[in-house]
């Protein structure tokens, strides 16, 4: 995918963030982010992919104005988040990693309260319907499940009808149904032109949702590109036989592949009509899927077989040692 020439919603250049002084480092400062740059566009999901502690949350918190950067420049909708006021904050929605919702609050009064902070908020009832919040509307935040909390936090981030949406680990604690619901809404909002910036340590999230991925390691961006571009990252010289393969193809949206491929091969539709089948694919599996297409008269618009998943690329780039 070509990055649009339109002015980006978020542009970070040479971001450095030191924290401390820390007693565990003999009172020295710890450099959490060191020279990170990225750009996020309207109508795209931009993912910051990295292990825990890579500096993803610190980076987006600097962009949200929640943390002051040490060096570098950040432009969010053309403004500096450190000095911007309520005008900028009303155009940006934030879902924090820990939710940030008061434990004693009940979902509907809380959403209505937050809606009151905006001139033309998104009607709360529409968000409640779309995110299935009605089912737990009388339960206080502290008694909600992880998935319910995440859905409520997403509604709270959206109630101002933002142009930019920040999601810090949006799939944390999501059950499969909530995940489907949340991912569906993220795609829907992206398609309406919202610029969405999310962090994740899950390759699957990035592969399913992201238009553009920045791989973050030890406070820097070590690789970037669309998922397809990253999958073409050269193999390291010591790479052995790759058993996991990904079949990428484009066809009509909404196809149901249940029963066509064996268990262990996971088919996802990252965007409408854009499919990825990942697993230990065999020649017989390829025969099965092409036979299924033939029986239904389906001709894929594109078709490619990748020897690796994003996870392999990630590990090749950021190293396989445990840290």
């Amino acid at each position: 995918m070509v990055r649009s020439p339109e002015s980006p919603v978020l542009s970070i250049s040479g971001l450095v963030k030191d924290v401390g002084p820390l007693p565990t480092l003999d009172g020295k400062m710890l450099r959490v982010v060191s020279g990170l740059s990225l750009v996020a566009e309207r109508g795209q999901v931009t993912a910051l992919l990295g292990a825990n502690g890579a500096g993803k949350t610190t980076t987006i918190e600097c962009a949200q104005g929640l943390q002051k950067r040490t060096h570098g420049s950040i432009s969010l909708l053309g403004e500096d988040p450190d000095t911007a006021g309520a005008g900028l904050r009303s155009r940006v929605g934030v879902m924090l990693q820990d939710g940030g919702l008061p434990p004693s609050a009940r979902p509907i009064p809380l959403l209505k309260h937050i809606a009151g902070m905006y001139q033309n908020p998104w009607p709360v009832g529409e968000l409640i319907d779309r995110l299935g919040i009605g089912a737990f509307s009388r339960t206080s935040v502290r008694r909600l499940s992880g998935g319910q909390k995440q859905r409520l936090a997403l509604a709270a981030a959206l109630v101002g009808n933002p142009e930019v949406l920040f999601l810090d680990e949006p799939s944390a604690g999501l059950d499969p149904q909530s995940r489907q619901l949340v991912f569906g809404l993220i795609s829907e909002l992206r398609n309406r032109g919202m610029g969405i910036v999310l962090t994740t340590h899950l390759m699957d999230d990035a592969q399913r949702l992201a238009d553009y991925v920045y791989i973050i390691d030890a406070g820097r961006n070590v690789a970037e590109g669309t998922v397809a571009q990253l999958l073409q990252h050269p193999l390291p010289p010591d790479a052995g036989e790759q058993h996991i393969r990904t079949l990428l193809f484009e066809a009509d949206p909404g196809l149901d592949f249940t029963g066509v491929l064996p268990d262990g091969v996971d088919v996802t539709e990252a965007r409408a009509g854009s499919y990825a089948a990942t697993g230990a694919l065999t020649p017989a599996d390829l025969a099965a899927i092409t036979a299924w297409w033939a029986a239904r008269g389906i001709m894929p618009r594109s078709l490619s077989l990748e020897a690796r998943s994003l996870e392999d690329v990630f590990l090749d780039i950021s190293g396989r040692e445990i840290r």
Binding site: L181, G184, E188, R208
Partner: protein, 269 residues
């Protein structure tokens, strides 16, 4: 590539959101602050433990002081000496202990960070808290006054204006101190510190029991404590209709110092 909202299949509940152009605008500043003040007031009033601290304990203390000889010897009835200090105690309950604890836990749960990303912002958040303290304090004054009048309280009519002004100043000093504690230590520590200080200052800080009745060692220092200054200024107002400039100065200094320190050292996460 089609940009179809059917990506990832349809959601299990709810259909696509109705079309709406993106882009928000903030509600006016005053409206945001009033909304936040109202929300925090409702939260405080729903909290049973806080209501005990805010209303029940001060009323019990008031009754206790009228049936014991602790406040004898001031040339005024026990109830007339007791009530101004009880109102001062109410300010300390709500502004320092209640507000401190709720802010400490809001900080732990990320509520302060989330709200500061909305148009409310950090300034609006603090302003909303101050408003909530004043709203709850107003209700406390109404309840305590009503009970005190039935117990025979006879305030100097000239005392109301200076007393209420001093009470607001005292609430400002204690709000600043409560925010300073809540913003610098863990919420469990805030809970312990603000409750312990409430008991210590309530009993020995010159707030309900005038300095003259305290051990000699304490007498010289309580006038410089926010509790002692507020208690003394309230008694001067309601017993003789006068303003105590020394106490007002002490409260102003505490407000400025604690407010400055909270601004400097408050950690939002």
């Amino acid at each position: 590539m089609t940009r179809d909202s059917a990506a990832l299949g349809s959601a299990p509940s709810g259909s696509a959101l109705p079309a709406r152009p993106l882009g928000g605008a903030p509600a006016p500043l005053l409206r945001r602050i009033v909304l936040q003040g109202r929300y925090e007031t409702a939260t405080m009033l729903r909290n049973g433990e806080q209501l005990i601290l805010a209303v029940v304990l001060p009323l019990l203390a008031m009754v206790g002081l009228t049936v014991t000889p602790l406040l004898d010897g001031f040339g005024a009835s026990r109830i007339n000496v007791a009530v101004p200090g009880i109102l001062a105690l109410c300010a300390m309950s709500t502004a320092f202990t209640g507000q401190g604890i709720s802010t400490g836990f809001d900080r732990r749960y990320g509520v302060l960070r989330f709200l500061s990303t909305t148009p409310l912002g950090r300034t609006g958040l603090i302003a909303g808290k101050v408003l909530a303290v004043l709203a709850v304090l107003s209700l406390q004054v109404l309840v305590v006054t009503a009970v005190a009048l039935t117990l025979g309280w006879q305030p100097d009519p000239q005392g109301w204006a200076p007393a209420l002004a001093v009470l607001v100043l005292g609430a400002a000093a204690f709000t600043a101190l409560g925010l300073l504690v809540a913003g610098t230590v863990r919420p469990e520590a805030t809970l312990a510190i603000t409750n312990l200080l409430w008991i210590l200052l309530g009993a020995l800080g010159g707030i309900v029991i005038p300095a003259e009745k305290l051990p000699a060692l304490l007498q010289s220092i309580v006038h410089f404590l926010p509790s002692g200054a507020l208690g003394q200024a309230m008694r001067d107002a309601f017993l003789s209709g006068s303003v105590n400039p020394g106490s007002v100065l002490v409260l102003l200094l505490w407000t400025a110092i604690a407010g400055g320190a909270a601004t400097r050292w408050f950690k939002w996460n």
